[in-house]
Amino acid sequence: MSDRTMEKSGRAQAQIFRRVNRDILATLQRPGVGWAAMMAVVLTVLGIGVIAEVYQIKVGLGVAGYEPPVMWAVYITDFVFWVGIAHSGTLISAILFLFRAQFRTAVYRISETMTVFAVMTAGLFPLIHLGRVWYFYYLVPYPNERLLWPNFRSPLVWDFFAISTYFTISSVFLYVGLIPDIAVARDRARTRFRRRLYSVLSLGWQGTDTQWRHYNRAYLFLAGLATPLVLSVHSVVSWDFAMAIVPGWHSTIFAPYFVAGAIFSGVAMVITLVVPLRRAFGLQDYIDEYHLDRLAKLLLLTSSIVFYAYLVEFWTAWYSGSDYERAVFWDRAFGQYAWAAWIMYSCNCIIPLALWFRRVRTSWFWMFIISIFVNLGMWFERFVIIIQSLAHEFEPFQWDYYTPTWVEMAITAGSFAWFLMWFLLFIKFLPSMAIAELKELLPPKLKRAKEEVEKA
């Protein structure tokens, strides 16, 4: 390449780099009316959730509608749902990083953020489910002077370790990834408050070769550590159920089935968040049909695994010869909770079949709609697994029908508002896309733009 061509190419690259900075940092500008309106709705719904929780604390856990034997109900459904949502974040940021899947660059920050906020949301539910939330410290499993020592044979104790580790490592992963991008925001901050905020958060990052050398290494190790962690966390959550001898729960397929389901729901949530975000901030050049198509394929793959797991569950129930297992699965498909089960089968198995068509996979509208159905279906999956199995335990005299109360529904809605509140704050204060990595691996549209500048 001649010196002149090289210089031209260098100038083109610098121009594109400046554009990446400008476009991504534009998301941090003063919030508009749309953002404020959305925040107002979110805070209202959160307020209703908080009122319901205060009411529950005041009156007692009885308002939660627990109906023996259904003593785990919507709160645990919500807990598993939100832990599941958290999963694709680390999948996209860690596993796809190790596999060098380039499409992750545009969406991994959003999914990592989603992970951290989803775990923060999930973590509320064991506390809400406790009733007397001020005794939460009894949950912390360490040998203590209260003579209530942890029983490490209990999967609930494993869960505590798994979830807290997952939250810590996901937060570390998110923050480490953010440091170079916060430095970009620091160098371009216009207000004093923002400059100070980003100066503190960027920790004096300057992007020297030494810093990058250690940073790249640590990021690789964090990805390596987070990868088995992703698989372990939802396995452990599944063992909360599978270790019990409740028919419908006591199955060895639960761990892979839950992990696939978690990734399935998480990818759907990424799509649900990315579609409006891209439109609201004009990020069409950064997230395009190429990314959507790959996310859709991931959704289709995990949907197929989940579909297969549903079928295997029925087959093993029949093949086991256990009357109780057979009764639970017959009841699941045709019994009192059949309506919930068929919502789950339709949303998780039937509707995603549309993703076999490329036109659907690259349609923003249809992908958004499908992602909403998948979110709904995955919430109902947890509802069915937990509530239908408990409501139809061994003996007919135990059977009952549980209906969620307004308190549970308000708290559930509040959890969505809590999650969205953090997300809305994040996109206004921190870069929601990985600036440094986007510059390194330009998305297809920017690559074309760079070539055009070079030709001009």
Partner: protein
């Protein structure tokens, strides 16, 4: 003028990583030690790493130490609890290794990750209260910087000559 003379060294800016990496090579050929050269980059720099014969990042030892420590802690916590507060159920053994494995695994990942974070902080020397000499805000935007640490006039002149010869740009704020 392609390089800016600073009090503690000379700074040059380039459009591409290849140019910055080449400048490092040429500076070395002109007698500057690698330890006196800092490259600033707006992107993760695998290519510059290749040009420096610097020792491999010791982050891995910290990660390994954290992992091993976590694994031992998990084992110690579970086994100590098993025997300090024994649960005798149906004549089964008081301790259970498969159960301990879950806790050992989680703590391996937890401490491995936290030690990796600490390693980034320690080896990258962050949090830093003051910025290193030679930094310019455009090095987080669109340019790659090469800074030669030298306080001698002769060294500054020589470094400037080299950077000039390589077509380094003057760093200044330009409208986007």
């Amino acid at each position: 003028m392609s390089a800016e003379l600073l009090e503690r060294g000379v700074r040059g800016a380039f459009y591409t990583l290849e140019e910055a990496a080449h400048a490092v090579d040429v500076l070395e050929e002109n007698g500057f030690a690698q330890s006196d050269i800092t490259v600033f980059s707006p992107i993760p720099t695998a290519e510059v790493e290749e040009h420096f014969v610097r020792p491999r990042s010791p982050v891995r030892y910290m990660t390994l130490t954290g992992g091993i420590l976590g694994c031992i802690t998990g084992f110690a916590l579970t086994y100590w609890t098993f025997f300090a507060w024994p649960h005798h159920v149906g004549g089964k053994p008081v301790s259970s290794f498969p159960v301990a494995v879950v806790i050992m695994f989680e703590l391996t990942v937890l401490l491995g990750g936290l030690f990796s974070l600490a390693a980034v902080f320690i080896f990258s020397r962050i949090p830093a209260l003051t910025m290193k000499p030679g930094y310019h805000p455009r090095f987080s935007e669109d340019l790659f910087g090469v800074f030669v640490h030298t306080s001698e006039e002769e060294g500054k002149r020589s470094a400037s000559r080299v950077l000039d010869g390589l077509g380094a740009l003057e760093v200044r704020d330009e409208p986007a």
